[in-house]
């Protein structure tokens, strides 16, 4: 069982967030950036026609 005492927290001024939550938010931002930037498989770009 994970207890509060075993949870790592990141402190930044008045901001305090658990490491797990910070990692999940970071992963979501990375996924969003990849979804915008990466081409979708089977997409017909101009050069491929």
């Amino acid at each position: 069982m994970t207890t509060l005492a075993s949870t790592h927290f990141v402190h930044w001024g008045v901001v305090q967030i658990s490491l797990g939550n910070l990692l999940v938010i970071g992963l979501m931002i990375v996924l969003f950036a990849l979804a915008v930037l990466l081409p979708f498989p089977g997409r017909h770009d101009r050069g491929e026609r």
Partner: protein, 241 residues
């Protein structure tokens, strides 16, 4: 009433209302506009897929009961399945929200689609919160005693008690999923009615293309071929959005 006159009973009225809401062919389309060929359009469907796993694992937990999910190995597994499907549900829903926000997806009479999406988000927050309260462990006790102070300070603690486990469990498994379910269905119906929102720089192309195929309700959508032709003839150089 004769056999030749059209029937005007409530089933006919409902059928006609449904066909006006989502015209035939739009409810379950087998083709989408070319601009949907992007990963950012995947997250709405991913949210729905996660919701299905949430509902199945939650239903399984409800059937077996809390002693089962605390003591048996399969119970632990299904409990974790429920937690992680909720994590994926929220992560994909928020990425879906970011994508739709930055493409201003309330354009083209899609305001109600945006509003139902927001309501589904806030309804899901309440369902997740009562889920934390229904764990029946020290974590749920801690969260409930912390939350009651905030809710009492806001003046709504007189109407329900977050420390009442059975009340919160019933809200979690019946009331809130029913509300979220109705809102999600409305959201999907509205998406099918108005179509998937185009990227901001693709809107002008939709209006200018002379020979698009109608897809119902007087609406036109670009197919992959139309989109390629439009981008090739675009004076801006035809960059894909």
């Amino acid at each position: 009433m004769t056999a030749s006159s059209p029937s005007r009973n409530w089933t006919t009225a409902l059928r006609e209302r449904l066909s006006r809401t989502v015209p035939p062919g739009q409810a379950l389309p087998d083709r989408q506009p070319a601009y949907v060929n992007s990963w950012i359009y995947v997250f709405g469907a991913a949210t729905m897929a996660a919701l299905v796993v949430v509902l199945i694992s939650g239903g399984w937990l409800a059937i077996e009961g809390y002693t089962w999910w605390h003591t048996s190995s399969i119970g632990h597994f299904v409990n974790s399945l429920h937690l992680w499907s909720v994590e994926i549900f929220f992560a994909t829903m928020v990425i879906h929200l970011w994508g739709k926000f930055f493409m201003a997806s309330w354009r083209g009479k899609r305001g109600l689609t945006w509003v139902t999406g927001a309501l589904a988000f806030f309804g899901s927050l309440g369902t997740a919160f009562t889920g934390y309260l229904s764990q029946t462990n020290f974590d749920s006790q801690w969260i409930s005693t912390q939350a009651k102070d905030g809710l009492n300070a806001a003046g709504i603690g007189a109407y329900f008690s977050v420390t009442n486990t059975s009340q919160m469990l019933l809200w979690h498994v019946t009331l809130l999923p029913a509300i979220v379910g109705v809102i999600v269905v409305l959201h999907i119906v509205l998406v099918r009615r108005h179509g998937v929102v185009p990227p901001i720089d693709a809107e002008g192309m939709q209006l200018s293309s002379p020979d698009l195929e109608p897809t119902g309700a007087g609406r036109h959508e670009l197919t992959t071929k139309d989109f390629a032709r439009e981008t090739a003839s675009s004076p801006s150089g035809g960059e894909q959005p």
